[in-house]
């Protein structure tokens, strides 16, 4: 946790309400996101119990598995989930924009124009927390290889036709959610915690009810009281007032209500009484709806809160990466490629790790550039400084054939960057990428004299507007402002002996 976040948390404790950690929203938020609140059954990892889902906050759809250990009921549930989710996921595939790029033919060396499709928009699933995300990933893993009645060899336990396809989509979404800054599958608690600091630990922030209690406490109530009630308040029967946002259910709910209801359902089924079985299933539906609906409203409240922040400047760019990811998966499904493998081979794993690291660097940089509060963390850590230009002196590098502009800019700042003369800095929010080096430092007076090294055009005099003027506010960072390219890796079939050779 950075010093600034610690400070914000302390202030939240004093104020009794969460404090902003961002001035803008750093994640994409669809106009009509698809909200999904899943519950898992206790006792078996990844066994779905129920889900409340949809794009209409007034009218959610409830799907349940009345006996979560019954595989037939589970796959029937997943088939219905697919019926709800797949049309939404696939609906973005048709509207595309065409992008041209020139590619070099590897053999002839000739340049040709290649036209690629990019979907104009992509789906967005909002779930309460990372646990829900993980559950969707597990469901994807357990269904994408299943055989269906339509297969040539359906095997002894075929599942409904579109279940494996649902598994492939869920796998893709969960895989993509591991890429920093991606928003196809958005966990609400983590997203809210990025934008607000509460007066509780980050572990407690994982409880959606408690987190919202800090960010938007009821009028006249302090955050810690509201959060404590959200976490611990129980009614006279011992049920939690605010049910947990899943995927695990409250154990008291399980043993007091759910388990007896499932037992009654099993009995009705064993007696082959269809009418009673249906009635028992409806009881279970009502029970699960009673613990899901409060979470459903919390999720939409969280979405509303995020909407109060204007989107950050780079969100559109990052959403475009999500759109590429969506388009790529759409194409792989359309091309009839097999489901994603169970494990990554050496090269694929290394490529994914490189991508995630690159995107993490990019995300940190873009957040700092988009948001003065994010930049403040770097300034406080001595990795950036901001201030007013007090003097600009023209100067030139005459070592080459023609003189180049190397003006000296003196900045007055209250920040204390960890920078020694000769150190390189980068201008944030300038007209173009611009490097400078520290020439002279007067720490007492807070004066830093920098020599601008680039970003001023090719002429002897700098292009207008490229050199800051006296009185202008500027910000420089000690770190580079773009993510580095990842080094090339071999093709999987060229995996070297150190890594076990090509995958078999």
């Amino acid at each position: 946790m950075s010093l600034l976040t610690t400070l914000a948390r302390l202030e939240a404790v004093r104020a009794g309400v969460a404090q902003p950690l961002a001035t803008v929203r750093h994640r994409h938020l669809a106009e009509r996101p698809f909200v999904l609140v899943p519950l898992a059954a206790a006792g078996e990892t990844g066994a779905p119990l129920a889900v409340l889902l949809g794009q209409d906050r007034e009218n959610p759809r409830l799907l349940t598995v009345p006996q979560p250990l019954d595989r037939d009921l589970r796959f029937a549930f997943l088939a219905r989930l697919g019926d709800e989710l797949l049309p939404y996921l696939e609906s973005f595939g048709a509207d595309v924009e065409l992008l041209e790029r020139s590619v070099k033919d590897p053999e002839s060396g000739e340049k040709t124009v290649e036209v690629r499709e990019l979907c104009a928009d992509a789906p967005q699933l909002v779930v309460p927390n990372p646990g829900a995300m993980e559950l969707l990933g597990l469901v994807g893993r357990s269904t994408r290889f299943r055989r269906t009645a339509e297969d040539v060899d359906p095997g002894p336990y075929p599942v409904p036709a579109r279940v494996p396809l649902l598994g492939r989509w869920l796998t893709h979404l969960s895989e993509r959610s591991n890429v920093p800054g991606s928003s196809l599958l958005l966990p609400l608690t983590t997203t809210l915690s990025r934008h607000w600091a509460t007066g509780q630990s980050s572990l407690e922030d994982a409880h959606l009810g408690a987190l919202l209690a800090w960010i938007a406490p009821p009028p006249g109530e302090r955050g810690e009281r509201a959060a404590s009630r959200a976490e611990n308040g129980r009614d006279e029967r011992g049920r939690l007032l605010v049910p947990p946002a899943g995927p695990a259910t409250d154990p008291a709910f399980d043993s007091l209500l759910l388990s007896p209801a499932v037992t009654r359902y099993d009995a009705a089924r064993a007696a082959q009484d269809e009418r009673l079985t249906r009635a028992r299933a409806e009881e279970i539906d009502a029970l699960l709806e009673s613990v899901l609906l409060p979470v459903w409203h919390q999720v939409w409240q969280g979405v509303d809160l995020l909407r109060t922040l204007p989107p950050a400047a780079h969100v559109v760019e990052r959403w475009e990466s999500d759109r590429w990811s969506y388009t790529g998966h759409r194409d792989r499904v359309a091309a009839g490629e097999p489901p994603q493998p169970l494990r990554d081979d050496a090269v694929t794993a290394a490529r994914k790790l490189a991508q995630r690291e690159r995107e993490q660097v990019r995300l940190d940089l873009e957040e700092a550039l988009d948001d003065p509060l994010a930049m403040a963390e770097h300034r406080l850590a001595g990795q950036a400084f901001a201030g007013e230009v007090v003097e600009v002196l023209p100067a030139y590098d005459t070592s080459g054939r023609s003189p180049k502009p190397r003006p000296l800019v003196t900045v007055r700042t209250e920040d204390r960057p960890h920078l020694d003369p000769g150190g390189e800095v980068h201008r944030a929010a300038g007209p173009a990428a611009q490097r400078a080096e520290l020439v002279q430092l007067d720490a007492e007076a807070g004066l830093l004299t920098l020599r601008l090294l680039s970003g001023m055009g090719r002429k002897k005099e700098p292009e207008p507007g490229t050199v800051p003027e006296a009185g202008e506010q500027v910000c420089f960072t000690l770190f580079e402002l773009s993510a580095r390219q990842s080094a090339p890796l071999p093709e999987p079939e060229d995996t070297p002996w150190t890594h076990g050779g090509p995958p078999r």
Binding site: L3, T6, N178, P180, R343, D344, D345, A346, V347, A349, A350, K352, L353, A354, R356, E357, Q360, V361, A381, G382, H418, A487, P488, L489, P490, D494, T495, P496, W497, T498, H499, G500
Partner: protein
Amino acid sequence: MTTLPTPAASPSPGEQADAAVAAILASALHGGERGTVVDSPPGAGKSTLVVKAARELVVTGERLMIVAQTNSQVDDLVDRLAQADPGLAVGRLHGSDALPGEIAMRHPGVVASTKVADLRELPVVVATAAKWQWVKDTDPWHHAIVDEAYQMRSDALLAVARLFERALFVGDPGQLDPFSIVGTDDWAGLHHDPSQSAVVTLLAHNPGIVPHRLPVSWRLPASAAPLVSDAFYPFTPFRAGTEPGDRLLELGPATPPPPPGLAPSLARAADEVLDVAAESGWGLLELPARLTVRTDPEAVAAVAAVVARLLARGGETRSERGSAPVDAGRIAVGTAHRDQAAAVRGALAALGVTDVTVDTANRLQGREYDVTVVLHPLSGRPDATAFHLETGRLCVLASRHRHACIVVTRAGIPELLDAHPSTEPVQLGVVSKFPDGWEANHAVLEHLRRHRVAAR
């Protein structure tokens, strides 16, 4: 003086080390496996081995590529190679934004270039793993040496392994593991987990490779080798190359008055812990327990005070290399975080000290000093995270010195450790590292307790 627990008939440290090196070279040149792995404890002559192996390979007419992890490591290696054999032509391959250091380029036999084609015909070419990854369109080398291989990530090896047929991997398994800025649980337990060390991946895929070991630390004094060996290398013990009494640190009297800005009471405590460390090789300067920000101003001031007093008093080190004055170039300060290093640098500058190396554990890897002053990674913390508990971090910080190591910390770390047992999830297929940071921290603190000086 105590005697080492070695039977009289056993070989001397020098003989042990020579035998190990001979076996390693035989395996690297003619062994049945394509890879040879050498585990080396701190200061066991790893760099000397690399230089020796490089020269033996070159003598046979082979061209050799060497992979190191950082630019300063590459420069150091080039310097050592050129010093050992001034007639040897060494290529220093570098990136366009990372010019080679002066220490490497002062030798006439060293040629630097950003393009491998310019260096391809030279007997030895040295570059960082990051630079080698971009090399293409070239025939593979027959032999490679990978230095600091335990700090190289598996994915980096994946990208460079196409460049060589056989390789000698040399490194210290007790130092910091490579890390990633993103979560890597997706690949935990896979043989080819891209975030783990290159050696772990290599050994998992080539079970025939049995790592060699260097048995003697020439750097660590007799006061330090047993502790570091027991705490960090319990299954692969090593010994010091020198006997107790071979290394002496004689400090000047504590007479010079402390400079303005250094509180007299803190100066007294610093003098006291310096005397303890000069006598025993270890010192623990303990501040009252308190939760602090990372750049704890009092702890930073205490670190600066110890360094400033050491320099003000002056002194002399005596060792098998002869005697030398204790000067700023032979002292280092180690911290866990960069902002802590920056804060110590600032505090030292305020006391008029500028030439002392102050850096993080990551950057001190592979370096050697006479006296080190360490800000304990857990000092003042409310929690013990995996980062601060990492065995390698403490191992690096506690094994850089030839004479004495002084640790500065807030009191209460044993209690902090007891309140934070290891809770890392167990991953199938991942070999758990032993000792874990928790155990190693306790072992080191238990030892340091005997050399404790309290600061008020």
